[in-house]
Amino acid sequence: MKASIMITCLGDLLFPDVGVAMVKLLRRLRVTVDFPPGQTCCGMPLFNSGYHHDAALVAARTVKLFERAEHVVVPSGSCAWMVKTEYPGLLKDDPALKAQAEALAAKTYELSQFLVNVLGVTSIDSPFQGRVTYHDSCHLLRGLGESRNPRALLRGVKGCELVELPGSDECCGFGGSFSVRLPDVSTAVLNKKLANVESTGAACLVACDAGCLMQMGGGLSRRGSRVRAVHLAQVLEPEEGE
């Protein structure tokens, strides 16, 4: 089995550990991993703010980068959603590109979906220990309809105790440029989320989206909270010494 990593801009620049954990994890599951060079961003920030012409140029480029990939695995639900749901529409004016976009959409998977739906993994051996809670990222939950796989994978880790997060399906307040266009509102939404997180007594808050992790991790860190925001891959493949 072969998989190409789509690292995403936030994953590449801010959370490289997540990408590294994901590569190790996939290799442990006997997947041959490659990383097509020249990746930047999926274009979702442009798309969400209404710059669709610009987003289409970025989409066209990304489609080409992954042309030869067998599977494309993304550590972020929103970017996977962007590729799967919006790329074909953005490129609809060029039939050849649109067909390529549809092909890419069909072979692109958010990490937890790839692990469970493609690899058929149900439990992963991981040395991780501790109580965690899980936040449903909006695009993964409502966009890709995924709420079970990440939870199943967390439950499959022997030392991991999963506690349900009250209001787990509510937005964390990130919303891309929303977080800086209306920072007060974004923060008010975040504070509600973090109060819920802290009520669980979890040591780690797990999510499958770099945007949410940036928002919630940023809020937790600012509060001096003991809770750490981590990506699913970091629970399944913790760094040595953790």
């Binding site: 509510e170 919303g175 600012r222």
Partner: protein, 470 residues
């Protein structure tokens, strides 16, 4: 209120709302309750999901033949002895009502809750013409006493706590009332009972109008709608043109999901079906019935970006689940219709420029789409609206520049890498304990309340070279 209110930019209005403790308390209690009731109601209703699909399909099919359905509705209402008026704009709708008031010597009008009349600011127009409007829905009555506007589509006084209502009643009605909903409701009922009997005109909106039978349908919970439509000698209903539905069978589909979505009820306490004015031999009902079919920007959208917003049943479910609405309430939006659907309806009524800021008052979390009884894809339409703001150059110049630059960097790995190197250099003075805690300029909008991870010393792309060979 609206114009002066709108001089304050939206982000400031939102900021003020966040700092209003009463509002925060009231919103949290009410929206949480609505969310729970809706969820419970649909969980116990296995047919619900299929009925939502069917309702959506009916709305879509009706829009495709809107002219015929409206004409059929008008014919049937006229056959029953009612009058039908066509209003291209809100102003025309207002003028029709004012003319009726003048011609029929109307001095007082009782009203049942209606967003369509809010949309055309009818109360202000009536008052200016010397006609006293009296709101008879409890929530509307409260905000009329307080000289405010509704802040929610179905719960107009949702922004008020019961303590605030008790204070308001005590001040306006004379007396000392305790903050007990039952006591306060009894007070309002006593005040209103006399008004129903005195009023010359009853004004309502319409949740639906059934073309095949000429039936105007009102969905209410307090029974006041029934009195408004039966006690005064004239009944005027104001309805957006998109509210027509073809058949009574269709009505059953909508009724089965509307109240569930709005309040979690199987049906609202009252479903009032008005079929023409008082007929010979009948002892009840108004002498005259007038239906105003109002366009006011709606039909233009049948072929426009906002087409799906014409499916809206005005249930308010999308407001209750919206993380933004739940934080700022309805008034901060600044227009008649708040919340996610309100942004779309405001664009429909007032044009795209009016929602320049509001179009971004959403994290696009999709909760609204999930609960919409007719599955309106609100996030998608918001994004399309933003696209129009960009294309029509309504979006600020600086923003368009910034996103242009972002696109260049995203489209060129060389430029992207240069940006990464630049970021790494520029952030150096601001890194403390491996975090960015205060950043200047635009980035400060993030770091005022949240830390940010710095651009990694080695990005994944850079680390890949080492881990490329397993």
């Amino acid at each position: 209120m609206s114009d002066a209110h709108l001089e304050t930019p939206f982000p400031e209005r939102a900021h003020a709302a966040l700092g209003d403790a009463h509002l925060q308390e009231a919103l949290t209690i009410a929206t949480t309750k609505f969310i729970g009731l809706r969820k419970e109601s649909f969980e116990g209703y296995p047919d619900g999901e299929a009925l939502r699909d069917r309702a959506r399909a009916i709305k879509e099919a009706t829009l495709q033949g809107l002219d015929q359905h409206l004409e059929r509705l008008a014919d049937n209402i006229e056959r029953l002895g009612g009058h039908v008026h066509w209003a291209a704009t809100g102003e025309e709708a207002r003028d029709i009502i004012l003319r009726l008031c003048r011609d029929k010597g109307v001095r007082m009008a009782v009203k049942s809750k209606s967003m369509a009349t809010e949309e055309i600011e009818l109360n202000e127009a009536l008052e200016a013409a010397g006609v006293k409007p009296v709101e008879t829905d409890l929530g509307e009555y409260i905000i009329q006493l307080a000289h405010e506007k509704p802040s929610h589509i179905i719960a107009p006084a949702i922004h008020k706590t019961k303590g605030q209502v008790a204070d308001l009643f005590s001040k306006e009605l004379g007396g000392r009332f305790e903050a007990d909903p039952e006591v306060l409701t009894a007070v309002a009922r006593k005040e209103l009972r006399q008004k129903f009997l005195e009023a010359d005109m009853g004004i309502t909106g319409a949740n639906f109008a059934v073309a095949e039978t000429g039936t105007i349908v009102l969905v209410t919970n307090e029974g006041n709608g029934r009195m408004v439509t039966s006690l005064p000698r004239i009944h005027v209903a104001v309805m957006g043109m998109e509210k027509v539905i073809p058949t009574m069978t269709d009505l059953m589909v909508f009724l089965s999901i509307l109240a569930r979505s709005a309040t979690g009820q199987k049906l609202s306490s009252y479903t009032t079906l008005v079929r023409g004015p008082r007929q010979p031999g009948e002892v009840e009902g108004p002498e005259e019935l007038h239906l105003i079919l109002m366009d006011n920007g709606r039909t233009r959208q049948i072929a426009g970006t906002l087409r799906e917003a014409l499916y809206c049943l005005r249930c308010g479910a999308c407001l209750n689940v919206c993380p933004v609405y739940r934080q700022i309430g309805g008034h901060a939006y600044g227009y008649t219709y708040p919340g996610p659907i309100g942004i779309l309806l405001t664009a429909m009524l007032k044009g795209n420029a009016a929602v320049k800021d509001l179009a971004h008052a959403s994290s696009l979390c999709g909760a609204c789409k999930d609960v919409c009884p007719v599955r309106i894809d609100i996030p998608r339409m918001l994004v399309e609206l933003r696209e129009h703001l960009d294309r029509e150059k309504i979006a600020p110049w600086g923003e368009r520049m910034l996103f242009g630059l972002a696109r260049r960097a995203m489209a060129s790995p060389g430029l992207f890498d240069a940006g990464v190197r630049l970021g790494r250099m520029a952030q150096r003075p601001f890194v403390r304990d491996g975090k960015l805690r205060t950043l200047p300029l635009f980035f400060g909008k993030w770091t005022r309340t949240r830390d940010l991870p710095p651009v990694a010393a080695r990005t994944f792309s850079e680390r890949w070279k080492e881990i490329e060979r397993p």
